[in-house]
Amino acid sequence: MKRLIVMSISLAAMLALGGYSIWVTNQTCEEISSLLEDAKDAAIAEEYERAMELSEALAVVWEEKTVKLAAFSNHADIDKMTEAISSLRSLILFEEQAEFCANIDTTKMLMEDILEYQIPTLRNLL
């Protein structure tokens, strides 16, 4: 019975951790998506300096978030995101508006994929 209690507590902790992982990923997704949207709007409005600032802020925020995300998400997906975010600064520096916006969309998709991977939907389960 003692072992069962210990394992019940461990399982409850694991379930709580599962819930926490979804919450952390969701928060990250919201924050990153909002920054990406702002950067895209700035690029469309040809405010390249603001777009550059937002891209740099995005890189900093992402760097902070990866510490927690690495515990729950596939590391290869995180690497892909890092790659996509780091390319944004160069694109806006050379005022490649179209490619910048396309990369913003790709990065958003990658972020949503990371979140979707955590949610126990039927599609993910099968």
């Binding site: 394992m7 599962g18 979804i22 596939n74 590391h75």
Partner: protein, 227 residues
């Protein structure tokens, strides 16, 4: 991570079901639920070692879950006879009163070679020596020999014998095991006396056992090397 947990539950149920379908012949020594847990745990544990992109937690969570499930199942099995028959099946008699039950053997998909091999592992080389043979839930065969072939015991001879205490190792590879010596209720004085009588020092002894009655057995160390 919830996906990993749910997948682990589904796979656990599926493999138990599959092993029950496969039958006792495939199982070996473990009970089905134990075998499932063992297979899954070893595989799940191997994945993050192989794939460094996978977070460790995705492996830890299902392993904990499987251990939990195994414990829950064993608690249920302890209490419910019906659950026991679902999860582990029940022993099947394949030789009854010296007669081989071929129907039961077919049901178990147990062929004659399997039976003879099982009997040989019990040092029985003639099937006609067997009075009862039972295939246990873990796939092993238990055998009851015909009365005339059973080993002679003091009970059969109506001889009264005293129970003997279990011997404990008191010296292993030249090292004295104090705890075992005190469990035998024999002091260091006794040990020194015995060693002196036999012309050994503690470090010369490879193995020494003793029991509460003071009976002992000594294997000295080879002079050149020790294991």
């Amino acid at each position: 991570m919830f996906i990993v947990i749910i997948r682990a539950i589904i796979l656990y149920a599926l493999i138990i079901f599959a092993l029950r379908i496969l039958g006792k012949r495939q199982i070996g020594e473990l009970q089905p639920s134990e075998l499932v847990t063992t297979i899954l745990i070893s595989n799940i544990a191997a994945i993050p070692i192989e794939d460094t992109n996978m977070p460790m937690i995705n492996s830890i969570a299902p392993i904990l879950l499987l251990v939990f499930l195994e414990l829950v199942v064993s608690h249920i099995l302890l209490r419910s006879k019906r659950a026991r028959s679902i999860f582990t099946g029940h022993p099947i008699v394949i030789i009854k009163d010296g007669v081989l039950d071929q129907k039961e053997m077919k049901k178990l998909r147990f062929n004659l070679d399997d039976l003879l091999e099982g009997l040989r592992t019990k040092d029985i080389f003639d099937i006609s020596d067997v009075n009862y043979a039972v295939v246990e839930t873990n796939g092993q065969i238990s055998v009851l020999l015909k009365k005339t072939l059973q080993p002679l015991t003091p009970d059969l001879m109506d001889i009264k014998v005293q129970e003997e205490p279990m011997p404990s190792i008191v010296i292993r590879d030249g090292k004295l095991l104090d705890k075992n010596l005190s469990e035998c209720k024999l002091g260091k004085g006794w040990l020194e006396k015995i060693l002196q009588q036999n012309g050994y020092r503690t470090e010369d002894v490879f193995y020494m056992s003793a029991d509460r009655n003071g009976r002992y057995y000594i294997i000295p160390k080879d002079k050149e090397e020790s294991v």
